[in-house]
Symmetry: C2
Subunit: 298 residues, 2 copies
Amino acid sequence: MAGRTGLEMLDSFLVVAEELNFRRSAERLGLDQSALSRRIQKLEALLGFRLLERTTREVALTQAGRVFYQENAHLLTRYDASVAAARRVAEGKSGLVRIGYMAFAATELMPMAVARFRQSHPHIETELRYIRTQGQKIALANDEIDAGYMIGPFEHSEYHAVTLTDEPLYAVTPRAHPLLHRTAITPADIAGQDLILGDLREWGEYRWRLNDMFSAEGVALKVRVEASNTLALIGLVAAGLGITIYPESLIGALGRNVEARPIHHPAFRSRTVLVWKRTNRSPQVRAFVDTARSLPPR
Amino acid sequence: MAGRTGLEMLDSFLVVAEELNFRRSAERLGLDQSALSRRIQKLEALLGFRLLERTTREVALTQAGRVFYQENAHLLTRYDASVAAARRVAEGKSGLVRIGYMAFAATELMPMAVARFRQSHPHIETELRYIRTQGQKIALANDEIDAGYMIGPFEHSEYHAVTLTDEPLYAVTPRAHPLLHRTAITPADIAGQDLILGDLREWGEYRWRLNDMFSAEGVALKVRVEASNTLALIGLVAAGLGITIYPESLIGALGRNVEARPIHHPAFRSRTVLVWKRTNRSPQVRAFVDTARSLPPR
DNA sequence: GTTTATTGATGCGTGGATTGCATCATGCGG
DNA sequence: CCGCATGATGCAATCCACGCATCAATAAAC
């Protein structure tokens, strides 16, 4: 066991305490009898009390030696076990991946990746934390999560980022809404509509992105209601108070009280990127990222 | 803490894992930053995987490093505790004294010594084992007991032995026995009496001694009954089946159904000696022996 | 943008520590 | 009384861990 270097003195004593014979112990330890003799002497000098009574014919433990042996007999075993555990982690055979995700990844992207990952890497634990895009950046910086699903694009020299989806936005309306009659919805069509959006606290990044897109098209948003809860928001739409805008991957999860139509415009899309620190070279994270990016696009 | 020499590498890593800064850690460890840097490098090389991610501005634990730290964080604490425990034993401030005793020491000698010893050395445990004289010699040789009360005399170059008592033997009779009328009992008076003695297995050494004493006086013993139990033996005496012979210290514990008279003869005495190995230099044993021999003679 | 300070890593020379070999003193078994 | 085993020790060679000085990289200060 090469890994226990630094613990030779203790190891030596434990061996001698078992063998009660310096020569045999020295052989077992792979060194000269004299060296072993001096190691024990040094250990005793260091401790300040004798561990062994030696005569030329016999070696016996002192009472203190007995206590010292009993207390530390399993220390090396425990240490070796800790080395083995750490090595498994280092080799990616076990460990923990902490994943942050925001709402748009919650329905398909993250669950599918996690499901497949847990199947292909059953020894690696996954920890999921719902955090919005901005929070994930902080969490990543603080090493509170290992990887995060966030709204893209994201570029930073200290981070890796892969784009997992680039999906169209949909207008979500009550059933039988006038917009549904159009063959194609454009950003301009939204201009006249009452909007129901999440508030800034809840939507954060997404809300800013929407503002940017529409103002780039010269469209002013008419926000009728703000909600801080997704279910409530959908309920408000279904009740006819207005329409909202969601990316494609959420549409399937909306229920039957609302309808949805894609907005045809190259800029009106939402990217989801998976981000992790460049310095985080752990094979667990690498494996998770590989799994996540290899999922078939919808 | 000087006692943890030999564990510097582990200690160093634990400190760095807490400080996440080599210079501060080096200062805390009392060595140069470069030395610390190399220690960690060596530890990593030894383990075969990295424990820390370093940039010139920042140090972070790898996942394996986190595991390694958690597993070993308390290792040094435990080790230090074991050193302290062993040191207490080495200094005689705690520990265990295992004491063997035979019947003649069971009534006064051993209990008084143990009582006083436990009072004066409350941190030292005492373990009592009833073993007859011959068995104690074996137990001492095998380090199964630390000291033994046995029938003396005892002389051996590898052992210390102190004589604690040299007491007269008593003839123990039923109440109103003819012997009680004599002013002084001699060995010859026993000759005509029916005797009740312990069997060889139970009395062992004592039985041989009695045989020796009487045959030296030319007296043949007339053993009427053998018993293997002290209470039964006294019962048999009380019932009038014969008399027995006990040393003085047992007389007080005999009860009211029997009487006792000393045998007046210089050879008819019983010594009790306390014996321990010369190689056993533990301060606990030394302290117990000192207590035992300093008790006031009865 | 330039400077300054701080980070961890590294080249190097020194001194103490550790090693193996040979040998010693001691005690057991024949 | 003589081997044979034990653990301890003298000694020389070697190793290796240390501190000093310095480097490259980078963050902070101006």
